[in-house]
């Protein structure tokens, strides 16, 4: 294929040191790292170390994922029978609302920025910490407070207007805890703003020498784009819920038609946040995929600029398409056209990414450990998710598919098929770095395959059901749809097992896993050039970067480089030569 041949850069400098050898088991046991340099409980709860905060997010988010999963399980089981197998109508409504709110506000939005973003953004750009460590901790606790409001409303009887909280139902007719949920959304949103702010500041101001924008790993680009959205979209949601709350408290209100209010306005304000929010959810995932694909195909990303700027493009244009949720809501036809047009534009960058990922594999030397399987699964499933999005973004076809199971399937293909698998890929990719332990290769691959199979079985039938017009949020339905729902539930069961497996083998790896070593995947990112688990302050000296992030093009980079293949002495394949004594145990 036609490629722009760029020669492997020659170094015109003399690095001072060659990298330390892997630590001996002795060193590995004795050295202090960010996990054990202090051990008191308080030192964890009050830590300002981005890595520890990342781990705290990991635990919390996993717990909420299990809650959301249970709710999803209830929904799926209930739908086995056309008459509703186990739940009363209102119970069902509460179940799917719990699933939606928890998964979106407490899992999808915080998961990658909170865990991987917190942990690796500073390390990948060679910083010692986030720009605002205290703010980072604060945003975790703010999030925790918001989350506890969700838990509280679950305990005191649940919530039933669906995660979209459309008035006038949510504000006037729902007798459930809309206020608590609104408060929860407001507070978690605030946390999300702070995280985004922190990441932007970090990327702008904390990059190590030589880490120019053109040399940042693409995960950083994705996180940056995500943070921009978090920063500029979330406040509108906050003010929306505030107004809805005012309306509910005073009992007379801004979105209430009986005194001249307009419920459609709520939808505008809500989707101004909530559509960009789906990019908040998917962009970090895309970022992870770049890292994993390049690493396991041992190649440069195909079209770095294209991938990087498509992230930014998605973030910007993604703001201007919210109206495609409202084609049938009584929104003006001409505005609808504008939105439909922009929707088609925002579909392009996603397509670009998919093509670039595929091209990245070309000419590589591909191996398939768990992260890579997840990443491939991501591409396969996300492609379907993206393409089916076109049906919904096209005004004409949206008429029939609006609010049917087609939407459900599409949404889950992007959010679960995309985001969830990217999250799994990232978690498995960086787990050795975070914990210093390697998990079971067999079980992790098996889990990946089980997840993908179960997922496809769950949501593919829903496309058909949706095209036949089965409406969403129905606890009971005409029997002709039963066969699809039974398939879905079967798939969901398999999926459930798939999601449970990592909980076990990852936990097991903490105790029985073998030491991972500094760089098990022979990856090029800065975070891989320091020992695992990293030291408390990541780098003893500030690393310096001499060329781009994915120089796998050098066959088996590290060794050849050490042999003086590039320049005089050692430099890691990504050009980072981390200063003296990074790797020696204390």
């Amino acid at each position: 294929m036609a490629v722009d041949e760029v020669p492997i850069p020659k170094l015109d400098y003399t690095p001072q040191t060659i990298p330390e050898p892997e630590p001996t088991p002795e060193q590995a046991r004795t050295r202090r790292n960010y996990l054990n340099h202090t051990t008191s409980v308080l030192s964890w709860l009050l830590t300002v170390d981005h890595k520890r905060i990342g781990l705290m997010y990991l635990v919390a988010v996993t717990v909420f994922f299990l809650f959301g999963g249970i709710a999803a399980g209830l929904v799926r089981v209930n739908l086995v029978s056309p008459h509703g197998a186990i739940l009363e109508l209102d119970q069902y409504n509460k179940a799917f609302t719990a699933h939606g709110t928890i998964m979106l506000f407490l899992f999808l939005i915080p998961v990658i920025p909170g865990v991987l973003g917190n942990f690796f953004v500073p390390m990948m750009i060679g910083a010692k910490d986030m720009a605002f460590p205290k703010l980072n901790l604060a945003s975790f606790y703010v999030w925790a407070i918001g989350a506890s409001f969700f838990l509280w409303q679950l305990i005191v009887g649940g919530l039933d207007p669906g995660w979209t909280l459309y008035p006038p139902y949510s504000t006037k007719y729902s007798h459930t805890n809309v206020l608590y949920a609104g408060l929860g959304i407001f507070i978690t949103g605030f946390s999300s703003i702070l995280t985004g702010l922190n990441i932007i500041a970090t990327v702008h101001k904390m990059r190590c020498p030589g880490m120019s924008w053109g040399r940042m790993p693409l995960f950083i680009w994705a996180m940056y784009a995500t943070s921009v959205i978090q920063l500029l979209a979330t406040p509108v949601l906050a003010v929306t819920v505030t107004m809805a709350a005012v309306e509910k408290v005073f009992g007379v209100g801004i979105f209430d038609p009986t005194i001249g209010g307009d419920p459609i306005l709520f939808q505008h304000m809500f989707w101004f946040y909530s559509h960009p929010a789906v990019y908040i959810m998917i962009l970090p995932g895309m970022g992870v995929i770049n890292e994993v694909l390049t690493c396991f195909s041992r190649k440069n990303i195909f079209g770095y600029q294209a991938v990087a700027w498509s992230s930014v493009g998605i973030a910007l244009v993604g703001f201007l398409v919210w109206g495609h949720h409202m084609f049938l809501a009584g929104q003006g036809y001409y505005l609808g056209m504008v939105f439909a047009f922009l929707t088609m534009l925002v579909a392009v960058p996603s397509a670009i990414k998919v093509f670039n990922w595929t091209a990245t594999l070309y000419g590589g030397s591909i191996s398939f450990p768990a992260p890579m399987i997840h990443a491939i699964g991501f591409i396969v499933l996300f492609t379907i998710g993206g393409l089916t999005g076109l049906y919904l973004g096209t005004m004409g076809t949206d008429i029939h598919l609006h609010d049917t199971y087609f939407v459900i399937a599409h949404f889950h293909f992007t959010m679960v098929g995309g985001m969830m698998f990217a999250w799994q890929a990232g978690l498995h990719f960086w787990w050795p770095k975070m914990t210093g332990k390697m998990y079971s290769d067999f079980w992790s691959r098996l889990a990946a395959i089980v997840m993908i199979t179960g997922f496809a079985l769950t949501f593919l039938p829903q496309f058909v059901a949706g095209f036949q017009g089965m409406p969403r949020r129905y606890p009971n339905y005409p029997p002709e749809f039963q066969v699809y729902n039974i398939l879905s539930t079967a798939g969901a069961t398999i999926q459930g097992f798939g999601y449970l497996m990592p909980v076990f083998y990852l936990t097991a790896s903490l105790f029985f896993g073998r030491a991972a070593g500094n760089n098990p995947w022979k990856a090029t990112g800065l975070e891989w050039q320091v020992p695992s688990p990293p030291d408390a302050h990541n780098f003893k000296d500030i690393p310096e970067v001499y060329f781009g992030p994915y120089e796998y093009g050098v066959p088996d980079g590290l060794r050849l480089v050490a042999d003086g293949h590039l320049g005089k002495k050692a430099v890691h394949a990504n050009g980072a030569h981390t200063g003296a004594g990074v790797t020696n145990g204390s």
Binding site: V6, P9, L11, D12, Y13, H204, K205, M206, R207, P209, G210, M211, S212, G214, R215, V228, L232, V236, I264, L265, H268, M269, F272, Y304, Q305, F319, L320, W322, G323, G330, Q331, G332, Y333, Y334, L335, V338, F339, E544, V545, Y546, F547, G548, G575
Partner: protein
């Protein structure tokens, strides 16, 4: 990607960490204008002369006030590009929200029903 192999150390240069403390003159002048404009706004608000244009006029005045405030009192005039970018993006996105939402209400009944 760029291939100069000399590490960029941009973020490490000692940039102008302190806005040069201009003589208080400009500050007071700016403040004087702001207060005058505020008074003008009140005057317009209390007079019935402009009729329907009253709100428009007052909003225009408010914009000027805000501009002066940001430019002189918040030292935006000395700020670096990134700061400008951030401030601009805040205003820009808000205006986008206004643009699209209001478009809906202004065009909603064209050609439909």
């Amino acid at each position: 990607m760029d291939h100069d192999h000399h590490p960029k150390t941009d973020v490490h240069t000692e940039e102008a960490v302190v806005h040069d403390v201009a003589a208080p003159g400009p500050t007071f002048v700016a403040f004087f204008f702001i207060v005058t404009l505020a008074a003008l706004a009140l005057f317009v608000g209390f007079s019935d002369g402009l009729g329907p244009w009253k709100l428009t006029a007052n909003l225009a005045i408010a914009c000027v006030q805000a501009g002066i405030l940001a430019f002189y009192l918040m030292d935006l005039r000395q700020a670096d590009k990134v700061t400008w970018l951030i401030a601009a993006s805040g205003v820009f996105w808000t205006s986008l929200f206004f643009l699209f939402t209001l478009t809906d209400y202004l065009t909603r009944y064209l050609g439909v029903l």
